[in-house]
């Protein structure tokens, strides 16, 4: 406010037309008041920005720290990034160990700013051979899959948890946040019904999701698939030659129909696995909420992934 109307500028405007000046001041005061009343939140993941917008609506100002096309596995906000959101009340994180820098970040927050791990109250699934995994990279075995956003049920629950959190820090808008979360939850129930219908034609023995990295455990749980990831929980390294051989054998043995690369990541390994195993190369999936060059909404990501999987496996 002070920067916009410095004394000389204000004086100058007042000299031109006092009535107009008063009117402008009133409008600007109202606008500034409205802006100040909005709850400012910063997010460490693009899907959390989408969620915050759906729950917070016009009462919330959302700032995404991860740039479009960025990889949330390797993202670590710089001091410059954090300085830009020093006036945010909340920092939204995915949780479940995705942001390994959180304890460090928590120590540098300005007074009054807090981190809210959206995934903390959601159920966790482990990467381990069994009901959900046909095989898994040894270096990720036993780890918790942090990609909880591949479950529509989880996102519906996350909307409720976020409404609770927004209510805690901004109780005046409680009814608005809860109503938004409920409305969004209804949309997500419809989305899940659509996804189930799209995936229904895929035979039981073809429900194997061979992907680049181990990101789809929650999707597999929700829609009755088993996972066969080539890399680990993050895109940390290329798989070893022996693991590649093992993966190709597993693909052949289970007659896997398709392998799916991702929008982020090197598609060459998957292309060569596809060639060696005879499984066709599907269109890329969106694993971390970031598409080529732009962020996507949760609903957009689910629709893209479900359509891509249904097209390749049925």
């Amino acid at each position: 406010m002070k920067k916009i109307l410095s004394a000389p500028a204000g004086y100058f405007l007042g000299m031109i037309n006092p009535r107009l000046f008063s009117c402008m001041m009133a409008i600007m005061a109202l606008a500034t008041g409205a802006a100040q009343a909005r709850l400012k939140v910063a997010t460490l993941h693009p899907l959390l920005s989408d969620l915050a917008q759906n729950v917070g609506g016009e009462s919330v100002e959302v700032v995404s720290l991860l740039k479009p096309g960025g990889d949330p596995h390797s993202f670590d906000p710089s001091p410059g990034d954090m300085a830009k959101v020093s006036d945010a009340r909340l920092i939204l994180a995915s949780g479940k160990g995705l942001e390994i820098f959180l304890p460090r970040l928590a120590q540098t927050l300005p007074p009054g700013q807090e981190i809210f791990e959206v995934g903390k109250r959601l159920p966790s699934l482990r990467v381990e051979v069994g009901e959900l995994f046909i095989c898994c990279p040894a270096h990720s075995a036993g780890g918790i899959d942090p990609h909880w956003w591949h479950s529509i049920d989880n996102m519906r629950r996350a909307a409720r948890y976020l409404a609770d959190e927004f209510t805690r820090v901004d109780p005046g808008n409680s009814a608005f946040y809860r109503a938004n979360a409920a409305a969004y939850g209804k949309r997500l129930e419809a989305l899940k019904a659509w996804a189930e219908q799209e995936l229904r034609p895929i035979p039981r023995d073809a429900r194997i999701l061979a992907t680049s990295h181990a990101a789809f455990t929650y999707f597999c749980r929700e829609f009755g698939f088993r996972a066969l990831p080539v890399q680990g929980l993050a895109r940390e390294s290329e798989p070893t030659p022996s693991y590649l051989r093992e993966t190709i054998q597993t693909l052949k043995k289970n007659r896997v129909r398709a392998v799916f690369p991702e929008h982020i990541g090197n598609p060459k390994v998957l292309a060569s696995i596809s060639e060696e195993s005879g499984a066709k190369l599907g269109r890329p999936l969106i694993a971390d909420g970031t598409g080529p060059g732009s962020s996507v909404t949760f609903e957009g990501m689910i629709r893209h992934n479900v359509s891509t999987i249904a097209e390749a496996l049925r």
Binding site: R121, P123, S124, L125, R157
Partner: protein, 107 residues
């Protein structure tokens, strides 16, 4: 443990409660309802660890002219997967519902 539950009736009951294993009433059908109100949500806390099964009791009564009907209870316990069970009844129903946590789930 915090639990959000959704109770969905196929036909409007005249009485209904949801109780914990110890008999504590967690939810009961409000008086100011209409015949169109078939879905109810309530949040409550129960004391138990996440690796134990969750036991809830649904009790419902319908008017005599109501045909055989269903009630679905969906629960979302913190840190555990969403689960639902459907029970059928005519006239009245008292059903113990047991929800298992699943061994692969961890907080």
């Amino acid at each position: 443990m915090k639990i959000l539950s959704r109770i969905r009736f196929a036909h409007a009951p005249t009485e209904a409660t949801l109780e914990a294993a110890d008999g504590r009433v967690l939810w009961s059908l409000p008086d100011d309802r209409t015949q169109a109100d078939l879905v109810w949500e309530t949040e409550f806390e129960i004391v138990q660890s996440s690796d134990q099964a969750i036991l809830l009791v649904i009790k419902a009564r319908w008017s005599e002219e109501t045909p055989e009907t269903a009630v679905e209870l969906r629960i979302e316990p913190d840190g555990l997967p969403t689960q639902s069970l459907t029970s059928w009844g005519r006239g009245s129903l008292i059903k113990n519902l047991i929800f298992f946590s699943g061994s692969e789930v961890e907080r």
